[in-house]
Symmetry: C2
Subunit: 241 residues, 2 copies
């Protein structure tokens, strides 16, 4: 009996009416079979989680009323996930898993060995919203537009550290012991299947913000690598401590 | 240009002819378009990885010849993954990810809140072989038959510790600091999407072999939880150190 959770693009407050889009009405009343008077959980990424009641249920729309706040707003640590888009289903998995694991921003990057040269940003953003609905989050990370890794690194913020997950790297998994323990902006960079080019490797290794890490002795698929890297980061520096 | 890797159920040694099954022939000659004389990598889970040459390529079969050993045999640490089967695609993902992350044995268990009451063991075993082909492993974990969690715990080996991943657990993620650091047999237990029952929780918490761990403040899907738990274990006690 999982409670229905819905992301809405509308302010939330006690007694606040919340109009529903056609898609949301279809999901709540067509798929989940909620009737007028039913309750569900809603969040908008800014006002925490609210209990809401169905006031009007239609085929093409409807209205909820926010009743009371059931959880405060929070955001995951200031962590970005940079990833090279892979096949559609695997890219969806990366987005879903990053939301569950807790990231602030999703940044698709085209590397020299990336096969996919385009993404559907709006589709990935919708996928991030659904993952947040599913995993109990009240925060939805923004999915950035696809950019070239070289351009992204050329404009890289001085204060944001990078956990650079390099398949070719020797040594133990995880952020090295000597890396600073204080929180602060970080990013995790996961490569494409095919790995990084030598030029990209050299570039990254020369950046003072970058900390190279290995991810074990086997080759991981990109979605597995994303979860593994996020686990290492979250348990060392993030909200899993 | 990923090299073709193939699991074969046949002894491997220099000059050893290796007959191919119909499926293997279809994959190598129909899908991957290998011709006679082409080389590929083969492994059987016992003799390491070998370079092999296509001697005979047919539509319904064929023959390889093992040429030279390219990697020694190895096995992952003595770690079992106990998991509750979920939907088909997600169960496949759990198997795939466990092989990539490195486990010795996959043990599907039916818990009180498990929806799936049966599995196709042979299909999951084939999926484990494919994951090993893909991730460069020379070891394929055995997939056990589905058993009830209560029965599995009733016959639990005294020396095998359990990392019990409990969504309801408070505290930091990971095996507690006071858990022994020496290697030895371990298992990771991942629950179903509705979590464990109170009876299962009490039972596990009373076992001297069990170490409870949390997996962060968000609800993880079962396949995400499996990768996260395996990362914590491998980086603390396993072959990721």
């Amino acid at each position: 009996m999982a409670r229905v959770r819905l992301f809405v693009e509308h302010p939330l407050g006690a007694g606040q009416p919340v109009p529903l889009s056609r898609e949301a009405a279809h999901y709540l009343f067509g798929v989940m079979r909620l009737a007028e008077g039913a309750t569900l959980a809603v969040f908008n990424g800014e006002d925490g989680e609210w209990a809401a009641r169905v006031v009007e249920a239609g085929k093409k729309g409807g209205t909820l009323e926010a009743v009371e706040r059931t959880a405060p707003q929070w955001a995951p640590p200031d962590l970005w996930l940079l990833f090279a888009p892979v096949k559609k289903a695997r890219t969806d998995f990366i987005v879903e898993k990053a939301v569950e694991m807790g990231v602030r921003r999703l940044v698709p990057v085209a590397t020299e060995h990336t096969n996919s040269e385009r993404i559907r940003r709006d589709r990935l953003q919708a996928h991030a919203r659904e993952a947040a609905e599913q995993c109990g989050a009240v925060f939805v990370p923004e999915v950035a537009d696809l950019a070239r890794l070289a351009d992204t690194l050329a404009a890289w913020p001085e204060a944001r550290r990078i956990m650079f997950c390099d398949e070719g790297a020797a040594g133990a998994a995880g952020i090295p012991e000597r890396a600073p323990d204080e929180p602060g902006p970080w990013a995790i960079l996961i490569g494409p299947e095919g790995g990084f080019s030598e030029a990209e490797r050299s570039r990254l290794r020369a950046m003072p913000q970058a900390w190279v890490t290995a991810l074990g002795p086997r080759i991981l698929r990109a979605d597995t690598a994303a979860v593994a890297a996020l686990t290492l980061w979250q348990s060392r520096l993030g909200d899993w401590r």
